[in-house]
Symmetry: C2
Subunit: 350 residues, 2 copies
């Protein structure tokens, strides 16, 4: 029946919980790198706007729904539709976030990540991991199946840097149609240079790799994985979450951890989502939100490769499917979310 979810997810959660980590970095502000915000300066605000959209169906922090320079709307719209249709509860976690959202959140504290070309990315990586481990232990008491997504601009570049520092061969996706891969590699090279690292040279010291060239989302998710240990966990994201799995591998973190993403990531020929995840011996799931049938160009463009994934959209759709939500409901629900989201009164849509 649900061939829009592939393969079959063979566990029916009793108390599913959707988490989403929100972070900022200065790497995300390098022009031309990220689609998470119409302009680099807005990327600091995108994670909070995403959280508000999901929790409130209303955006408080910025005047508009976040969208990419190409006009794709934030995947938070799909996440919101999936969670609302299924009733799966959500909880946002901030880690190195500059602008806090107008919703409740669990704070990992920590500073925003640096521009990895110029400075150590996250000096407080160990503190973030410790706090997140405590949070994971706590959450294990409340859920039997936890989905973890992210909203962080520029996250695939830091993901790429971490994979290369740790010696994993994966190719990351882009939220832009025209993948700025050469630019990303240039940034990664400069970052590795800065800290005297090269491909695989930090394999035996993964925490240092995260500290030097990572972003604050990664240790937050790793810490939660550590704390959740026995609990079934599904990372909700594409190649950024695949990089988290690489770091988990390098750290020797086990547990019942799989990964779920959208069809748009799985089918991205520039990226290596499936190979990377299978190379680590982890299970992956693909959810097809069916957005080619959306009536709104800002969503139907996903099916042509814009935006693709984020805010745990693929995992949220998977979670929704487990409580009987259909693909058609996801498509119609996403359209409805975007058409009816409340914006701050002062400003109209541009």
């Amino acid at each position: 029946m649900q061939d829009w979810i592939h393969p079959h997810f063979d566990y029916l959660p009793e108390r599913p919980l959707f988490l989403c980590v929100l972070s900022n970095t200065d790497t995300g502000k390098i022009p031309g790198l990220s689609a998470a915000g119409a302009s680099p300066d807005l990327t600091d605000y995108t994670p909070s706007a995403d959280a508000e959209l999901v929790e409130l169906h209303k955006i408080v922090t910025i005047p508009e729904v976040p969208e990419s320079p190409e006009g794709a709307t934030t995947p938070a719209v799909v996440t919101k539709a999936a969670l609302s249709l299924s009733g799966v509860p959500s909880l946002f976690v901030t880690s190195g976030l500059r602008r806090k959202p107008a919703v409740p959140y669990v704070d990992m504290n920590g500073s925003a990540g640096s521009d990895i070309r110029l400075a150590t990315a996250i000096p407080d990586v160990a503190d973030i991991m410790d706090r997140a481990t405590m949070l994971g232990r706590k959450l294990a008491a409340f859920s039997d199946c936890i989905f973890i997504g992210e909203s962080i601009a520029g996250g695939t570049t830091t993901a790429m840097a971490v994979m290369q520092a740790l010696g994993y061969d994966g190719r990351v996706s882009s939220s832009l149609l025209d993948h700025p891969l050469a630019k990303k590699q240039e940034i990664v090279d400069a970052a590795l240079d800065r800290c005297g690292a090269s491909f695989g040279s930090m394999r035996s010291d993964p925490l240092r790799a995260l500290m030097e060239v990572g972003d604050p989302m990664i240790p937050a998710v790793l810490g939660m994985l550590k704390g959740l240990s026995g609990t079934k966990t599904v990372l909700a994201g594409g190649t950024q979450m695949a990089a988290v799995l690489c770091a988990a591998d390098a750290l020797g973190l086990g547990g019942d951890v799989s990964i779920a993403t959208t069809r748009y990531i799985v089918e991205d020929r520039n990226a290596s989502f499936v190979e990377t995840v299978e190379g680590l011996g982890r299970r992956w799931y693909m959810a097809d939100p069916g957005l080619e049938r959306s009536k709104i160009p800002a969503l139907s463009c996903y099916a042509r490769g814009s935006a693709k994934e984020g805010v745990g959209a693929g995992g949220a759709v998977l979670a929704a499917s487990l409580s009987g939500v259909t693909q058609q409901e996801i498509v119609e629900g996403s359209d409805r979310v975007l058409m009816t989201v409340e914006l701050p009164k002062k400003s109209g849509r541009a």
Copy 2:
């Protein structure tokens, strides 16, 4: 059997959850007012140290276990013993807290409260209540019985101001043996004067009363009560939580809300805990931690009226009793917690 809990709590929670709200105010720094910290300047740090003690059995933020000028140790020691013995999970909530703890916490944001004699106490009271309402709704999905405590220095003075602004006649307790009641009334009078209020004059506008003369803990708890509506909730505290019940009454908030405190509050002849709570038609519970049998003066002094309550100690003891923990275990557990708590390496105990 458990006559140390009075009256019998006639519900056995399946998934109890202990919350504790951490806040600061400048009112709490007025000299001679509060026992939550050995000196007024330390009161900003006391809530975080309490949270660290409960979550980590270790204090990170300050060099020592918080204690009152009279030498009573923080009631967080009793809370920690109760939660550890029973396995009841805890979650800390920050609302207007200056110094964040080294543990995971849900952040209500908001600024620390003012010195109520000098300025509007919490200008962002409505935002705090809204966020806390969302948090309450969320938590209702994860627990069938929620205990809510607090750690805020100077909280009885703002509690007293709120009760008087709303026209409730209650008398608050003190964490000091020699209750500085005249000083508190002087502060309350100055605060009411400042905003043109008098006894009962804000009865019809409770939000304004909280905004002018309250503290950031009160709207956080009220918001959670609003969001939790259907869920059994036990406020864990003495006369400060009684003041929260007064404000809930003025706001017309219903729900299955009772209050639990220590024997030391119930027996405080200077305060009116029982009358105030019964006057509101709410149920109260008393837990007797039996600290007169403690081998440590900093705990046995509770039985003579020092400290008395805080960090939800009475409610935590009640929650522990429901899973079979005995009074003797609480006494011995509290002694053990205090004797073995880890302190920052740099400094020894004074």
